[in-house]
């Protein structure tokens, strides 16, 4: 399986395979970022994410978490989403990135990860943040790892149900 589930939850992340506290720039906790490796959706707001991004042994990280405003939907094949994927390939690749999916046909956000303080400035230029608002958060150790840079230049998903840049069919 090339995908798992990711959600930012207020309460305890019941049954999660990896979880860590997420903290806003002003220092207050905004919830628990949690991941579940299972087929069934674990919580209502969970989104599909490239499973390679999840690492219970992962170090602390900073993320750009892009999510659509409530009620807004955008096709995954929208030109803006295509162009954001091109820009991700063109620019220096972060520690990890994944689009987020609720279903097979819509873009429901993206997560971009850096593990170094020097990489934080890149999060402010997240190509996906040109589509929907981005929240810049610190995430404690225990959930986020690395995704190898895609070979390129493929911007398509390997199966419409899978997040990009997961790069194998099946």
């Amino acid at each position: 399986m090339s995908r798992c589930w990711l959600a930012l939850v207020d309460g305890p992340a019941t049954g999660a395979d990896a979880a860590a506290r997420a903290i806003a720039a002003d220092g207050h906790s905004v919830g628990i970022l949690a991941a579940w490796r299972r087929r069934a959706k674990p919580v209502r707001d969970a989104l599909r994410v490239d499973e390679r991004l999840i690492d219970p042994d992962g170090s602390a990280a900073w993320i750009s978490l892009v999510l659509p405003p409530p009620g807004v939907r955008l096709a995954f094949d929208d030109l803006a989403v295509q162009q954001a994927r091109r820009l991700v390939l063109l620019h220096p690749f972060p520690a990890a990135v994944s689009t987020l999916l609720r279903d097979d046909s819509h873009f429901d956000g993206a997560i971009t990860v850096t593990h170094s303080a020097s990489g934080q400035h890149r999060l402010r230029d997240d190509p996906f943040a040109r589509i929907f608002p981005s929240r810049l958060l610190a995430v404690e150790a225990g959930i986020l790892g690395f995704v190898p840079p895609p070979t390129g230049p493929t911007i398509e998903r390997y199966g419409s149900g899978n997040p990009w840049p997961s790069d194998r069919f099946g």
Partner: protein
């Protein structure tokens, strides 16, 4: 100017000339090199499950390479939606490759072989350029098993594949690779 090295392969695979150790029907060694961002990358991981254009080039400074990259940039527009990959290899260090790649607008992986280990292994050193010791310009089109479907010796510019030739090779490999090539219909 040397004649194309090696003989044509008799396996029935489509191709033109062999170059160095890269002959149609053979396999590219599964080498490891640093990419343009300094990450160590293995060829088989870069190729994954897709047909791949593997391109060896002299360096950013060569007008012929600049012209050929424009051809690859045009191919990029198709490859990005065709489940096909591209990898370019030179002796330039990662920082130089990163700058060249960014200037081109290339969205595929560039690999660096500054120690010329893979160049030596593949017998792809261009001996007529003792200043730069670059790669002989070469293109191979390979499948996920790293088997060479087509090989082009680009020492003379017209030895390089056209965009149409590359598309044809990528199509042939894809046809063999994708079990659902014939679209499912009622």
């Amino acid at each position: 100017m040397s004649a194309p090295h090696g003989a044509r392969n008799a396996t029935g695979a489509v191709g033109t000339d062999a170059v160095g150790e890269l002959a149609v029907g053979g396999q590219v060694p599964d080498f490891e090199l640093l990419d343009h961002a300094g990450n160590r990358r293995r060829l088989s991981h870069l190729v994954g499950g897709d047909p791949t254009v593997l391109h060896f080039y002299r360096g950013w400074w060569c007008p012929k390479e600049q012209a050929f990259f424009r051809r690859l940039l045009a191919l990029q527009e198709d490859a990005e939606v065709a489940y096909s990959r591209m990898v370019s290899v030179s002796v330039d260090p990662p920082q130089v490759n990163a700058a060249f790649r960014a200037g081109l607008g290339a969205r595929w992986t560039f690999l660096s072989d500054p120690d010329r280990q893979i160049q030596t292994q593949l017998r792809l050193r261009e001996t007529t350029d003792t200043l730069n010791d670059p790669y002989v310009p070469a293109v191979v089109v390979i499948g996920p098993d790293l088997r060479i479907h087509a090989a082009y010796n680009g020492y003379w510019y017209w030895g390089r594949p056209t965009r149409d030739e590359l598309v044809r090779h990528l199509r042939d490999i894809s046809r063999d690779l994708r079990r659902d090539w014939e679209a499912p219909t009622p």
